[in-house]
Amino acid sequence: MTLRRHFPLLNQPGPRIAYLDSGATAQTPDIVLDAVRVFETGARANVKRGVHRLAEAATEAYAKARTQVAAYLSVPAEEIVFTSGCTGAINLVAQSFGALLKPGDEIAVSELEHHSNIVPWHMLAARNGVKVNFLPVDGEGRIVPQALSPRTKLVSLAHVSNVTGAVLDVPAIVSEAKRVGARVLLDGAQRTPHGPVDIPALGVDFYAFSGHKAFAPHGVGVLWARSELLDAMPPFLGGGEMIASVTMQGFTPANAPAKFEAGTPPISGAIGLGAACEWLGTLDWAAIAAHELRLTGRLLDGLRAVDGVTVIGPQSLQGRAPVVSFDLAGAHPHDICQIMDRHGVALRGGHHCAQPLHAKFDLAGTTRASFALYCEDDDIDLFFAGLADAKRVLT
């Protein structure tokens, strides 16, 4: 694999950085940095507001970004809403789609969700009396599809778990949701960095993800929704750029996606994300997926050989993304991460914003290694050297 050479941060002189924290934020390639720089130095202006040449160039670049993101997801550009992130996208659905729900309506999430796909629903429940149900997770950290209550209006689940790495059984979820007439939202934060997503083939209704986990800048994310849903949903934030007209008596919202993009959007972030999506779309994903899975397999095999290690997640590579969380008996995740850092290995320790899942497994936290396309065997070598040291010092 030679993709690592495109990432300047990973090619600094000095000791290698084994960056195994891509699940938190991925590194960003030259092509994205260049796109942002071209915009900032050649077309920086606000969008949709001006007629001068820079404003026109900025508006055009922003529109192009929407097209690039749409192509990555195989959906129409008008159905792409730029948000502040995955959290922003899920909150938008909780506010706007949530406004269409009535007391007694139900929403299904799962025990393994990121807090950003739990708290907005708890907040909605407090606001308008909907009920939040939790689909169970099995011993391998996979969501177990279950019969849904007929009052279910929305099923909101992680496409890939940010803790266990389990890939959701989307067909089973979608067919059960269809049976009861519920909509399906997938949180794609951990899926989008691993290749194009064919949303029409998934048959879902909403899709949310963050730019910064998909090699793009921080501060931008995406909500995709079917146009009939975007049309039916009231706006959530009010302000400039989201209106057709405003009078002293009231306002008429613009059509989607503008309706959901009040105020100045994250323009350069969106342009970076567009460039990232276009670049990702040109790569050989069969080869990358095989590479990421092989590294995951090496990590799982190596971890199994370490006394006291328990992997929290699927033990096989079937239906698994390159995210591996584990417990090392007698050692705290933050202590492990601290010692790993001295070996140049970047990991994440803690509850990974998934406290209900950790509570279920009776753990305060776990240590997580998450890969992206720039990871290599040398990173795994450093990981195991660091882990041996952590084990020696801590246990």
């Binding site: 509850h351 305060a364 936290g365």
Partner: protein, 134 residues
């Protein structure tokens, strides 16, 4: 690799179970660090201002364990207020890069790791509210 943070004296403190106990839920005072999920419980009583039967239960990292063990050690059997004030001053000094008497000198390498200061301070929050309630 020799790890300066987890040196022998600090690891010995973190494994010191002298005042550790399996405190059932509801005993003493429990504090959480919501960012990392760590949780510290302290129990004990004041007899004429003297700290007695100081026990702790820690679900946390080595730094948090070590801090709890050190705190219990310097409090138990001592005038609580003065001992706590001394410990507080010592830990503040050592985390700011200054000097401190044993056992707090063991925490000197933590000064450089700002993200870990709260791990050391969590047991202090528990003890403060334990004594303010009695």
């Amino acid at each position: 690799m020799n790890d300066a943070l987890y040196h022998d004296a600090l690891m010995a403190l973190s494994k010191d179970r002298t005042h550790a106990a399996a405190l059932p839920p509801g005993t003493g005072v429990t504090v959480d660090n919501p960012l990392c999920g760590d949780r510290v419980t302290f129990d004990g009583k004041l007899e004429k201002g003297i700290a007695r039967d100081i026990r702790h239960k820690v679900r946390g990292c080595a730094l948090c364990q070590a801090s709890a063990a050190a705190l219990a050690r310097v409090l138990d059997g001592k005038p609580a207020r003065a001992a706590l004030a001394d410990a507080q001053a010592a830990v503040e000094s050592v985390l700011a890069g200054g000097s401190a008497p044993a056992p707090w000198d063991a925490f000197a390498p933590v000064a450089r790791h700002k993200s870990r200061h709260d791990c050391v301070k969590l047991p202090f929050s528990a003890v403060k509210s334990l004594f303010s309630g009695t």
